[in-house]
Amino acid sequence: MEFFHKVTRFPFMNTRKVWYGLSAVLIVGSLGLVGLRGLNLGIDFTGGVVVETNFPQPPNIEQLRGAVAAAGVTGAQVQAFGSSRDILVRLPPDPNAKGAEIGTRILDIFRKADAGVRLQRTEVVGPQVGQELFIKGSWALVATLVLIAVYVLMRFTLKLAGGAILAVLHDPICVLGFFAVTQITFDLTAISAILAVIGYSLNDTVIVFDRIRERARNARKLSIAQVIDESINQTLSRTLMTKLVTLLVVVALLIFGGETLHGFSAALVIGILAGTYSSIYISAALALDFGLRTDDLLERKLTKPEEIDGLP
């Protein structure tokens, strides 16, 4: 079986203004949504208490909410989590709360509604720790971007690297937009998903660039725009195939992985889609607009005579 028996000839470079427009809409839309709706930050970042319980029969959530409020627990969010038998209680960080005790207290309240309820999980994160984790996570993002930029710069020219980095920034922004729209809890695993997306999306870009460099050296008669178009088309089947298979496994995670991995796998799905799009339509196009020329890609530019003369 083969989906791409002939090499496609899509004019990616001529139509790039359209794709820029689409990306601009995506980026502005995502950032706008993050700004307006905000992210539903998990307790990893806000600090607070999460208590997860499991009922033998689906309970009446309204009744549970009433019972929790009546017991004097303030600021509690009681919601179904995954199935209707799993009830999650989230509490804001409370200086008076003595951590684990709150879990048992919630359980006692719930026991009155249904004696068979079980405590599945309690998580307590101090507000200070939450803040630190957020800062740490942000640093991890920045460090990854910087290190990857350095690597791409070393491997390719400045113009290609610029295109790659901008295209890579595009993907996590889309993922953030997705989290803002769906209000899926944004926690530490979501950050790891974003980092994986960054590493993984650049993967496609690098492969396209690799091909552009190879083509530029072998087909010097072609204009750089033609080289780029050809390279993207030649690698298109590979790009789409690998992403298809990766999406297959990630969708399996999304379906079977349960609530804990829900945000994580959703972030991966969106990130992979955005990453595939940006590596095909955006990264090389940006490099072209940064003034990439065939000369930039030819080997051994470093040993130009004037540089040798410049040495002491």
């Binding site: 496994v249 995670l253 079977f256 796998s265």
Partner: protein, 617 residues
């Protein structure tokens, strides 16, 4: 022949076989087990055989046992046997062991002896409690300054040097001794310097008086902080071995500068753990006031001059003298000795300062009662959300001084259970900095099993989808890719079992993602081969070119994912690190299997043929 050196094929085969061997222990499964540990001492081979005899005599079947790091693990075919064995052992050898219920792998002994073991499961898969404690390192530095201040006063008093004042500044970490004139400062300097040779004292003028100033250097502060954290780690480890908390394989590790992370697999109730762990304790040795009546003092509330009213653990009033003989700071070690000439005893060691005081005290007080007071401070938040330290003091032991002693002595007249506890409490007593819990996560065992099921489902379905797709789309080469993918998962399992990294749910997600990455590498190669074939190159040359040309693309693209993985590894904590570890190892194994393994298989399948008409790709 397609040129691919034999030694590379041999290398691939060897790596794969070693991988299979390392991954093998994961196939045996787990069963109910007991884990036996001893306070401060190892469980011995002789204990193992005597316990096995005991269980055999009561017809409790033991399916296996092993000793590891001084802990004995006994495996049982059923849960009932496990509980029966626990009751039998605790009856037959009361107080001898800490017994924890746990699960152990059925890995045969010869494998275990080779150092092979199954993957460790993270708390989200096993269930358990994860706690992070913050150590009050500033408090530890303040204590150091206070200590120095008292030392200075004592040295000056002993040398009969007059001084005006000793000032402590916690903000700048300084202690200054003010003198009336330069002459007494010189004498003071000699006195203090003589007692503490390694102090950096500078002569300065403070508030118009000649002064000696001690400034803690950054290195000293850091050393003090490190010490406080390390000491807390030791104390927490000791407490986790206490019989009250029967935990199997507790893990205590430093996290960052001033935090301690604790993992307690299998434990449910974090409130109970926190009650025991969150305490800071110290202790004091004091002489008992034997002339007055404690019951009367307790009833009337009128405590005689020079005495202080305390209570024992069973709420009996005791009157102790106000002067402290030795404090917990001066205690260096305590251990329980089950068999001494005088029966069970607790051995105590003191530092030189404590020893000198104890020597003087015992010389004067032979035949009198000395008491040990245990002072427990727990840090709690009050209604205003401010940390307050709550102190409880109780007398944990009273014993008659039988002879003169100094740095080493024994407390006798204790029963084995009391003795163990006393040793534990004494050791816990030398604690410096207070702890507070800043993060805690407790996962129930049913949720853990649930998470395992979900992770395994996701992995199986995801991989099946990828396998079928590859076989359909790339035919024979797709099947080779499937073999390579399977080998990749085996190698990844092998590596994770070898390094002992715990598998978490995000870790399973990383395994799934790694499958995607490994597929990617194979697709790169095959698409390249197809491309070469389309350009009219012979099948043989297409294979060679496909592998060669895809190499740089695979390497480049994996490096970026590797960078992301390594950053996560460095920055991440807990579950995130679990993801990063698997991702990084997975990228490495996938590069090896796709580039070398895949090539070797192609060589084995196609290399022998004289002429390849067409490729099944």
């Amino acid at each position: 022949m397609i040129a691919y050196p034999r030694w590379k094929i041999a290398l691939v085969a060897i790596v794969f076989l070693v991988g299979v061997l390392l991954a093998l222990p994961n196939l045996f499964g787990e069963e109910s087990a007991l884990q036996l540990a001893r306070d401060r001492a190892a469980v011995l081979e002789s204990d193992r055989s005597s316990l096995q005899e005991l269980l055999a005599s009561k017809r409790v079947p033991v399916s296996g046992s092993f000793l590891d790091q001084g802990r004995l693990t006994l495996r049982f075919p059923s849960k009932q046997d496990q509980l029966k064995a626990r009751d039998l052992i605790s009856q037959a050898r009361p107080g001898d062991f800490t017994i924890a219920l746990s699960q152990a792998s059925r890995v045969p002994e010869w494998m275990r002896n080779l150092g092979l073991g199954p993957l460790k499961l993270g708390l989200d898969l096993r269930g358990g409690v994860y706690l992070v404690y913050q150590v009050d390192v500033q408090g530890a530095v303040r204590q150091q300054l206070d200590h120095d201040e008292q030392d200075f006063r004592a040295s000056l008093r002993n040398a009969r040097v007059t001084y005006q004042d000793v000032q402590v500044d916690y903000k700048t970490n300084r202690v200054a001794v003010l003198f009336r004139d330069a002459d007494s400062r010189a004498k003071g300097s000699a006195a203090i310097g003589g007692d503490n040779r390694n102090l950096n004292l500078t002569e300065r003028t403070v508030d118009g008086s000649p002064a000696l100033e001690l400034q803690l250097t950054d290195a000293q502060i850091k050393e003090r902080e490190d010490y406080a954290v390390q000491q807390n780690i030791v104390i927490l480890r000791n407490r986790l071995n206490s019989p009250e908390l029967a935990v199997s394989e507790p893990q205590v590790a430093r996290e960052g500068v001033d935090r301690i992370a604790i993992q307690l697999p299998g434990l449910q109730n974090s409130a109970e753990v926190k009650k025991i762990l969150g305490k800071t304790a110290t202790l004091e040795f004091r002489m008992v006031d034997e002339t007055d009546n404690p019951a009367e003092a307790a009833a009337t509330g009128h405590v005689p001059l020079g005495a202080k009213l305390y209570y024992t653990r069973d709420k009996q009033p005791v009157l102790l003298k106000r002067e402290v003989v030795v404090t917990g700071d001066e205690l260096t070690d305590a251990s329980f000795q089950p068999n001494t000439q005088d029966g069970p005893a607790v051995s105590v060691s003191l530092d030189s300062r404590g020893a000198a005081k104890m020597l003087r005290n015992t010389q004067e007080n032979i035949g009198h009662l000395m008491a040990v007071v245990f002072i427990d401070r727990s840090r709690e938040k009050n209604a205003q959300g401010v940390d307050v330290d709550r102190t409880t003091e109780e007398v944990i032991n009273r014993a008659t001084i039988r002879g003169v002693f100094s740095n080493n002595f024994q407390i006798t007249g204790v029963n084995p259970i009391e003795g163990r506890e006393l040793a534990l409490l004494l050791r816990a007593g030398g604690l410096a900095a207070p702890l507070s819990a800043v993060e805690e996560r407790a996962i129930g065992p049913s949720l853990g099993q649930d998470n395992i099921d979900k992770g395994v489902h996701a992995m199986v379905f995801g991989m099946l989808a990828a396998f079928i797709f590859m076989a359909v789309y790339y035919k024979a080469f797709g099947l080779i890719a499937d073999l390579v993918l399977a080998a990749n998962v085996i190698l990844l399992t092998a590596f994770l079992s070898l390094v002992g990294a715990a598998l978490t749910l995000p870790g399973i997600a990383a395994v799934v993602l790694t499958v995607g990455i490994a597929v990617d590498a194979n697709i790169l190669i095959y698409e390249r081969i197809r491309e070469e074939l389309r350009n009219g190159v012979s099948p043989r040359a297409a294979i060679t070119a496909g592998f060669e040309r895809a190499f740089s693309a695979i390497a480049d693209s994996n490096v970026t994912a590797l960078i992301a993985g390594l950053v996560l590894w460095l920055f991440g904590a807990g579950a995130v690190r679990g993801f990063a570890v698997v991702l990084v190892i997975g990228i490495a194994t996938s590069m090896f299997t796709s580039l070398m393994g895949s090539r070797a298989l192609v060589q084995i399948f196609f290399g022998g043929r004289r002429k390849i008409e067409r490729l099944s790709i």
